[in-house]
């Protein structure tokens, strides 16, 4: 049972807050790795061909690369840690306790990565080409190593695999989706590297060189165009059955017109990804002469939207868990759900001072239970608003709905006894302005509650 206080962020909701920071970070951190490969490969080719113009371009590109990845990239990474710690401390605590020394390894790798990034940029023109190229490959190798480490922790959340039973850390790290996720992220990184390179290439003053670099950078999107469907299919096969079912339903309902949020996001990802590929093919690849900086920014923004939508899907399919089969998305342990109906929750929660429910404090307790169990995903009247979702429901229906939340497969079960369930139902009933229960209603709850030890 989560004993942490809950942060009330208002209408934005926890999901959006994490989503905004995570999307920016994922986009830039993927660029930090794929862009490293782009720099190393392109510099290698340019040195071999003695192509001074491209080397000069790479110097400018690496300046942009360094300024973006070591500042916003690095800090939004810390930002994810902070925001998840604030919105779901139980989740971050689980990950830290499980993977403390993996994080420590990641920290060492990150430290070296940042240092080499600085060496690489600041040594342009000051060291031999051979050493500079060595730094480029070294940077990419270390940056990729950071993915190798963090990928185990990220994939663990959706597919902890055998860890749930064995609690063996290596089962958790090399979990079922580890390898397909590593491959798909690597392929996506090359695309993102290409997208950013298209942006900086479009600023090259020399026309011929600009056209050549736009054409070259657009090629970096091609591997993902051909490989991603296969890698994603592989990834799909490693997902838990319930998640795979959810995705299949999402895809199957595309033609029916009754589109779930998941379906809409999958459609958005597909359409925007194809748009990026087509525009890159017809623009910088085939017709670099007519391609402008404005178009390149449009591709960059589309890429950011796709990243955001993909992150949303990853979060969405993990519901009702944050660590699949172990910890619910509201920070409550799956294990704790078993006896909560008999024991109740308010008596054991340190942040709810009311230890028994009375007619006077019922709605206050209901609001506190809302904070504890619902607010991780819902708001009162903003994002995933309960005011909208429960609109038109009466209090008895809300009570019954709370009894069966888990049948949706995307929500954790309500934890608490009947009095607590009624307290929440009454609070939500007030929120949606449902008529009060008739005094002689058969479903009127017992109003006295004695906590059990």
């Amino acid at each position: 049972m989560s004993d942490f206080p809950v942060w009330s962020v208002g209408g934005v909701g926890h999901g959006w807050l994490i989503g905004i920071i995570a999307t920016i970070h994922v986009y830039i951190s993927h660029f930090a790795i794929g862009g490293g490969l782009y720099l190393a490969v392109t510099e290698w080719i340019s040195v071999k061909q003695n192509d001074e113009k491209t080397l000069e371009y790479l110097r400018g590109h690496s300046n942009f690369f360094m300024l973006l990845t070591t500042v916003v990239g690095a800090l939004t990474g810390v930002g994810i840690w902070f925001v998840v710690g604030n919105t779901n401390p139980a989740a971050i605590s689980s990950l830290i306790h499980n993977f403390m020394f993996f994080w420590a390894i990641e920290w060492v790798v990150f430290l070296v990565e940042i240092a080499i990034a600085f060496f690489y940029y600041y040594s342009w023109g000051r060291v031999s080409r051979r050493f500079h190229l060595q730094l480029a490959w070294l940077y990419f190798g270390i940056a990729f190593l950071s993915l190798v480490v963090i990928n185990g922790i990220l994939t663990f959340m959706l597919t902890p695999g055998q860890w749930v039973e064995t609690r063996n850390i290596w089962d958790g790290f090399f979990n079922p989706s580890y390898w397909p996720s590593l491959c798909s992220r690597f392929v996506i990184m090359m695309t993102i590297a290409g997208v950013f390179a298209i942006v900086t290439s479009s600023r090259i003053k020399d026309d011929d060189h600009r056209h050549r670099m736009l054409h070259y950078s657009a090629k970096w999107l091609m591997p993902s165009f051909f490989l991603l469907p296969f890698v994603m299919y592989w990834y799909f096969t490693t997902l838990p059955e319930q998640v795979a079912q959810l995705l299949e339903n999402g895809i199957a309902t595309i033609g029916s017109g009754n589109l779930s949020v998941l379906t809409r996001l999958l459609l958005l990802i597909s359409i925007l990804s194809v748009t990026i590929y087509v525009v890159s093919l017809l623009g910088p690849y085939r017709n670099p002469r007519n391609f402008t900086f404005g178009f390149s920014l449009a591709i960059l923004v589309l890429g950011l939207v796709v990243t955001g939508a993909t992150e949303s899907v990853r979060e969405m399919v993990r519901k009702p868990y944050v660590v699949y089969g172990y910890l619910y998305s509201n920070g409550l342990l799956k294990e704790a759900a078993k006896d909560s109906t008999a024991r109740g929750v308010i008596a054991h929660n340190p942040w709810i001072s009311e230890k028994s429910i009375t007619p006077g404090n019922r709605k206050v307790v209901g609001e506190k239970i809302f904070r504890m169990q619902c607010q991780a995903c819902h708001t009162k009247s903003g994002y995933r608003s309960l005011k909208d979702l429960a609109h038109g429901w009466d209090r008895a229906f809300i009570f019954r709905r709370l009894t069966n939340l888990q049948v949706t497969n995307i929500m954790p079960p309500f934890m608490g006894d009947d009095d607590e369930r009624w307290a929440l139902a009454e609070y939500l009933g007030d929120l949606v302005e449902a008529p009060p229960l008739p005094p002689d209603s058969a479903s009127q709850p017992v109003l006295s509650h004695t906590p059990q030890p």
Partner: protein, 375 residues
């Protein structure tokens, strides 16, 4: 047993011995705090020099201040990066031991705590704008530096807020009830907050003063006059901050509840020995630095003074954690309660990676220096 709202420890055991994690916490926090002090203090000294270069002094004094501000401006971005990176590790280890305290205080001031990220990004880019626009924004560049200084000063204040709040769970329930979990709490009613903040920021100025002394030492062979200016200017700031620190230190000490600060004179445990040793080292360090700067410009004296001061800071870091543990004992919690289940294999890999990573950095630094020198 108390009725404090302290969350139960995570059901998953901490994957390393308490002693090992405390050691890593002290080591990485020491590196973080020394670099952070150097960064924040250098930002302050750069701002002062930038303002002085346009406000007062004759031509040569102006040029020296401008030169110092520019030089510091070029170094500060690296320091920011290292401060952030070396800040990650102690934050990780602190969560393994004191997680339920740290998360709770962070949630209670969630918006404030999260704002740290944005403030650092603004401050970071501010310094880059200053150095890269040094000539282009000649008349306005001080604005970038001042904004950065304010950002990082606020970040330090937020950190002190959170880290004092995490050790006083007695206040939590009232804050949560009062704020409704809005995450806008500032821990300003904490008696130790202001002296603790000043203690850290003055320490930053002192450490940056030492750093400027080092820059002076390194410039001796190139330009004697500039080197002397830097060594004296740095030593003055080191001295001024240290003198003020004496007063602030006493204020900080007496703002700590009496039964908690008693650990520093109790014969039980090592806190008293460490406390006294730290102050002896600070006094000795100050004497050597001042001797090097004003009497005998000897690198030996300067480095001895710097080494003594750094050793003093290391001891203070242990004292800081001992005080935190004393605070938490008031809440019937001791670090010995942390359940551990060491992941020996992963820990071994960590140390191997640490060794390899250090090797790569040493290789890169040496080769870079050799190549730059030969070019």
């Amino acid at each position: 047993m108390h009725d404090l709202p302290i969350p139960r420890p995570d059901p998953i055991a901490t994957p390393g011995d308490i002693g090992l994690i405390l050691f890593l916490l002290y080591l990485t926090f020491f590196l973080h705090i020394v670099i952070m002090n150097g960064m924040l203090g250098s930002l302050f000294l750069a701002t002062v020099s930038e303002l002085l270069s346009r406000l007062v002094g004759d031509g040569s004094s102006r040029t020296r201040h401008e030169h110092l501000a520019e030089k510091l401006g070029h170094i500060i971005p690296f320091m920011i990066s290292l401060t952030v990176t070396f800040g990650i590790a102690p934050l990780l280890f602190v969560q393994g031991l004191y997680g339920q305290f740290f998360y709770t205080s962070s949630v209670l001031m969630a918006w404030v705590w999260l704002s740290v990220i944005l403030l650092i990004i603004i401050g970071y880019y501010g310094v880059y704008l200053y150095t890269r626009g040094f000539e282009r924004y000649r008349n306005r560049r001080y604005v970038f530096l001042t904004v950065s200084l304010v950002m990082f000063a606020v970040v330090a204040f937020i950190y002190v807020n959170n880290l004092t709040l995490m050790q006083t769970p007695q206040k939590w329930l009232d804050i949560y009830t009062r704020t409704g979990g809005s995450g806008w709490h500032w821990n300003i009613d904490e008696a130790t907050l202001l002296p603790r903040y000043l203690h850290f920021t003055l320490s930053a100025v002192a450490v940056a003063g030492l750093f400027v002394v080092v820059l002076g030492l390194r410039a001796r062979h190139a330009d004697e006059a500039t080197a002397t200016f830097m060594m004296r200017w740095g030593a003055w700031w080191f001295l001024a901050a240290s003198v003020l620190q004496t007063g602030v230190g006493i204020w900080f000490f007496y703002s700590i509840p009496e039964h908690l600060r008693a650990i520093f004179w109790s014969e039980e445990g090592a806190a008293r020995t460490i406390f006294v040793s730290a102050h002896v080292l600070f006094v000795a360090g100050a004497a050597f630095v001042l001797l090097a700067a004003f009497r005998k410009p000897s690198p030996f004296f300067a480095w001895t003074g710097i080494a003594a001061t750094l050793a003093g800071i290391a001891m203070k870091i242990i004292n800081r954690d001992q005080l935190r543990q004393a605070y938490l004992r008031d809440a019937d919690w001791t670090v010995e309660q942390v359940r551990t289940q060491p992941q020996t294999d992963v820990i071994t890999i960590f140390f191997v990676v640490l060794l390899l990573g250090s090797g790569v950095l040493v290789w890169a630094i040496r080769k870079y220096r050799r190549e730059v020198k030969s070019s």
